[in-house]
Symmetry: C2
Subunit: 322 residues, 2 copies
Amino acid sequence: MLSEFDLIQQYFQRPRHPQRATLGIGDDCALLTPSPAMQMAISSDMLVEGRHFFAGEDPYRLGHKSLAVNLSDLAAMGARPVGFTLALALPAAERDWLDGFSRGLFALADAFNIELIGGDTTKGPLNICITVFGEVAPGQALRRSAAQAGDDIWISGTLGDARLALAGYRHEVALDPASLQAAAVRMHLPVPRVELGMLLARQGIAHAAIDISDGLVGDLGHILKQSGVGATLNVDALPAGAVLATRDTALRRAYTAAGGDDYELCFTAPVSARSAILAAAASVATPVTHVGSIDAASGLRLTDAGGAALALQLQGFDHFTS
Amino acid sequence: MLSEFDLIQQYFQRPRHPQRATLGIGDDCALLTPSPAMQMAISSDMLVEGRHFFAGEDPYRLGHKSLAVNLSDLAAMGARPVGFTLALALPAAERDWLDGFSRGLFALADAFNIELIGGDTTKGPLNICITVFGEVAPGQALRRSAAQAGDDIWISGTLGDARLALAGYRHEVALDPASLQAAAVRMHLPVPRVELGMLLARQGIAHAAIDISDGLVGDLGHILKQSGVGATLNVDALPAGAVLATRDTALRRAYTAAGGDDYELCFTAPVSARSAILAAAASVATPVTHVGSIDAASGLRLTDAGGAALALQLQGFDHFTS
């Protein structure tokens, strides 16, 4: 039987990063040396079986996604990722599962040059809680409260394919196997927009930002509320995922506007920054699309490509009412 | 029905600390401004129903204990607590539970002048994951690897009453109601030894430290392994909790040496620091007891009050093999 100590040592303990984490796994706390004059950006996300992922989900993908959704929060602040802790409740210490999970986790961690600095393991219903740490220069963080009337609204990448895959798994939408597989990559292996977020923050060209996890309309709503503004969103301008783009207009509108699980950035920036935004996005090979504008008047107005009002019944995801 | 947003706003959002957390709950990340030239000490603990606490546990006590076990990790490093994140999976958003839990949590947070800076809530089997942040001056952290041959071994407070209460609840040991209630305070409302840990670190008078959560013998074992040393422990010198002290010798020895859930500090210090240790402990009103010594020879030797070898069958708690 694999003990807790062996589990940590075999699957989660790796050589220490020479510069940053003075002390990693194996003491009461990790010790992290912040870079001088930088702020720490910190976020925690908890993933629960049956809620955030299916029972029996492939452990490699789960390791990737658990870290990706947290890195996406750092991206939305414009912070540079530094490290993370992992607290893990497992029904049993199964070697195959641990091997896959840790490989998926560390593959993404290595891609962003960050390390696991501590955590906890215990027996219990499968639950993955990651806390990420990043750094951002004072005053540069992209805040939800910073949108200004007249700002453009931008979206990175594409939206809706993760939601389409979910609909396919649930047989709410008929999808051929190849389409389901293609869409499902967005659901299982989201890539956090870390480089774009860092660049927007460093260049000071964006105002507000949020990552799109519960659906664009709901997440943009947080920016509007906290900034005390409204917005007009051209729903037909929303960039649909490659698979969703082949479907009918109603499905495309619904899943781009309020799909969820996208892990793209929604950010606002002054009109004067348009060319700078496009250049920054191009420099990190991340497509961005201008999809609307921030209004002084409160409320969110959805329009079609011609500017006519659209009455869509949309709802963001809420963990306790849905 | 209480939404996720309302749940956070009603039970977990409080006024921001004016100095430290620049940005707290309500953005993608919290922003924390580290004090210049300090290291961050970081620890995560996950508490699972049926494993770390009984189903139906009083929520106030649970809020207290969830934070206390994390603060105990900071205490064991000698770090000053600064803030924490809370990720919470709940079967349902019940007002009574949330009210009790948040009151217990914040009562302890206020006692240590720290704040909740962010987190996550989701539906799922009850699971509480807290990550704490503290600060410690470079070089001052109390590490498990720093014990030296010849060091005294010290214990703060008393041991074993939490384990005795557990035995009482399980009817492994007969306890009258008043005794059970007295012992159970140690199980439900542990007080982390934060001030003592900070003082030992700041004065530089201790070498290694660990907090006793899985039983002294097992936790001291981590210090011995990481420091490459052994130890001799006078089991009869171990300070028993007030209720346990009234029980027979065998029970007292077993529960002080390997009870678990004590949240006291075990630390080592040179013999020359004895009077400084006692003075420091007195200044923060925390009793400390000298219970053994670190040996150059590996292994842990248990003795009785007369120095004769004791062969106790003891085992630390392991989450996956027990």
